[in-house]
Amino acid sequence: MKVLATYNIKGGVGKTATAVNLAWIAAREGHKTLVWDLDPQGAATFYFRVSPKVKGGGDRLVRGKRELDALVKGSDYAGLDLLPADFSYRNLDLALADAKRPERRLDKLLRPLEESYDLVFLDCPPSISLVSESVFHAADALVVPLIPTTLSLRTYEQLGGHLDDEGLDRPTILAFFSMVDRRRRLHRETVDELLARDPRLLRTEIPYSSTVEQMGLHRAPLGSYAPHSPVAQAYERLWTEVWGRTGGDR
């Protein structure tokens, strides 16, 4: 089982769209896939038309009182399940703080899912907190969307620095440019310059697109309503790259 987390310290960069669309593609390719919506805003949960409610809330979940099995909801797509968000996740930090070895907690909760899923996507709330610490320990790779602006890039560097400080060799950071508007000179130049300079960056860029914004209207992954749109195609390429960088079918 591979655990991928879509993560950025900064919000509004396309994390949830990335998790939902990549998970949809992965499931279509035959990988049993679970999306765990860890963000109390519950955007991924909304896209899958599931009501954001976890019985007993994040607190009981973290304490291991609720089995994940009972909380999973099937999505409308074969091989793709969802662990919905709950508004109580806003206090997940506090719940984790009470747990033993909080940074290992998520990893431990995920382990029983090993037999059922090939892939788990963690859709994380922005910020660095106990939740993200726990995510760093559980994930094989962080899939990090970057908007080509100075501020966004600073957070990418912060993240790299943070993981280095912690001395973690895992997770791998898989950063890529998201919401790129090639009509804007700043975007164009930033993307081209950084891609040339940093070989670790994924080569695929996801264009800024109103088709992505319509996910909220359709309440569905892109591939299900606009499979031939350029942005859906870009997600396909992104998935190929992510899958390859995380070892593929190894």
């Binding site: 038309r49 009501s51 099995d69 909760l109 029983p112």
Partner: protein, 535 residues
């Protein structure tokens, strides 16, 4: 443990009674449901069920189906309840052998089950599937239904009746929807649960049932049954097995048809040779002689099958430069195999073969005479079986104990033959003895036989390869490098044989250990008291 793995929820299939039409059913559903019902585009897939002649996929659990929808073909291994695919792969068409499948999970898992057997299309299901989604207020699918019509088509069979199903496919995390629909189906809709899985229904429609062929000896004998009647049960089964494989041999479907026929013939011959005084001697002698003839007429074809299969192993045993030099041997084997199978066809068409089958059937089916001339015909089978097994066991022990370090290969060959005789008897009469004990003995014997068998195989292979060399030279097809490769192979096999020989004493000591010996004594030695045989 913080949680259990997420389990797949099996679908719930219902049969639709003949009088009920689809439109009425859908209307009734809509009328009763608290949820929305949305119809999705219908599909018209064709499903072909495949298995080996001896039902290996069924034995391993589930069934194998090739689904054709439009131009796409997909082969999927389903569990018996069709809940979630065990493994699946896209394929260009019907595969014949597992080696025709694309590399991957399905091929790997099937290889260990199917081995070298061919996958045979058993029945084709033409289907019309109407999928429905049950949706909640957010238009989230909380349950799926399929309304299905299937019709079975088998080779040489009329089309089966339409099989109609309503399948309830739960979506994880929405148990209330499942409860509601199941209540509806059983109540107002008046549907009953499917009696047997669709794939079995389809097979039945063309006159097949999973497991309707097996080469194993899984019949039940009664301890006090008359010996002649009991032996007839065995002989009938062996005859059925032999004949069931005839067509597959003629059509050269795979190599195991011939193998199964040979085993049945060998078993029958061994039975008639070992259990004397049950049928009139004259009948037995003639049939035994003819079975010997049949066996020997199949030897060349089997050898070619075996050596062609062994070629890959042989290549692996040689340095890479020499491995390719074995190709002329492959050519030689293929050519001789083609000839041998042609000869088999001639043999199967011969009057002598037909007479043999007639004789075999005659002995296996004749009514038991009230006053038999054969001395042991009317004895209880348990007594006869016990005596013969004990005698065969002593034969093994005698031959085995006589083996010394210096004993010639011939002596080991004799031990092997003695073991085979014992093994056959124990398998024929297995049902007369306590299952666990005889199971253990057969297992112990098998372990011992494996050693002897390997030793003998290695000896035979060396002789055969030398024989092939001479024949290839005669036929003008033995390049010097090929000769060298084959010589190297013979050396390699001789080395292995010496290694295997070293283990004989150890294996025999295991087989003649206290526990096994004790069980043999307990089961077979003592004169039976009434009623003890089945204990």
């Amino acid at each position: 443990m913080l949680g259990s793995p997420v389990t797949d929820i099996p679908p719930v299939p219902f049969s639709i009674p003949r009088g009920t039409d689809a439109a009425t059913l859908i209307d009734a559903l809509r009328g009763h449901l608290s949820l929305g019902l949305r119809e999705e585009p219908a599909r018209n897939p064709t499903l072909t069920l495949l298995d080996t002649f001896d039902w290996r996929v069924h034995e391993a659990g589930g069934y194998l189906a090739l689904e054709a929808a439009g131009k796409a073909r997909r082969l999927t291994w389903w569990p018996p309840d069709a809940s979630a695919a065990l493994a699946s792969a896209p394929v260009p068409g019907l595969p014949r052998f597992v080696t025709d499948l694309p590399p991957g999970d399905l091929r790997e898992r099937l290889t260990t089950v199917v081995e070298t057997r061919a996958l045979l299309p058993l029945v084709r299901l033409r289907s019309h599937v109407r999928p429905f989604d049950l949706i909640d207020g957010s238009e989230k699918t909380v349950l799926r239904l399929t309304l299905e019509e299937h019709r079975a088509e088998g080779a040489g069979h009329r089309n089966g009746p339409w099989l109609r199903r309503l399948r309830v496919l739960p979506v994880r995390g929405y148990p209330q929807a499942v409860d509601e629909v199941l209540r509806l189906a059983r109540g107002p809709l008046g549907l009953s649960a499917e009696e047997r899985p669709l794939h079995e229904e389809a097979l039945a429609a063309v006159g097949r049932a999973p497991g309707d062929y097996s080469s194993s000896l899984d019949f039940q004998l009664a301890p006090d049954q008359r010996a002649d009647a009991a032996l007839q049960v065995v002989l009938r089964r062996l005859l059925d097995t032999a004949l069931a494989n005839e067509d597959g041999i003629r059509r050269q479907i795979d190599t195991e048809f011939l193998h199964d026929l040979r085993v049945a013939v060998r078993r029958a011959r061994s039975l008639l040779g070992q259990v004397k005084g049950v049928f009139p001697d004259r009948n037995v002698q003639v049939l035994r002689k003819e079975l010997g003839w049949l066996g020997s007429r199949t030897n060349v074809a089997r050898d070619m099958d075996v050596y062609l299969h062994a070629l890959e192993t042989y290549r692996g045993a040689l340095p890479s430069g020499l491995a390719d030099r074995l190709e002329p041997l492959r050519g030689f084997l293929l050519e001789h195999r083609a000839r041998a199978y042609r000869d088999l066809g001639v043999m199967l068409d011969s009057a002598r073969f037909r007479r043999l089958v007639h004789r075999w059937r005659g002995l296996a089916r004749r009514p038991s005479p009230r006053r038999p001339t054969a001395p042991r015909a009317a004895q209880p089978i348990a007594r006869v079986a016990r005596k013969r097994i004990w005698r065969a066991y002593r034969g093994v022990m005698r031959a085995g104990s006589a083996i010394r370090r210096s004993s010639p290969p011939r002596a080991l060959h004799e031990v092997r033959i003695a073991c085979k005789k014992l093994r056959y008897l124990m398998e024929f009469f297995r049902s007369l003895f306590p299952a666990e004990s005889i199971g253990q003995l057969i297992k112990a014997l098998k372990a011992f036989q494996d050693n002897l068998g390997e030793y003998q195989d290695l000896a035979v292979q060396q002789d055969q390869l030398r024989g092939f060399e001479r024949a290839m030279a005669r036929e003008g097809g033995l390049p010097a490098k090929t000769r060298e490769a084959m010589e190297r192979l013979v050396e390699h096999l001789a080395g292995r044989q010496a290694e295997v020989r070293q283990h004989f004493a150890e294996r025999f000591a295991e087989f003649s250990g206290e526990e096994t010996t004790g069980t043999f004594r307990r089961l077979f030695r003592a004169a039976p008291k009434p009623g003890e045989a089945s204990a």
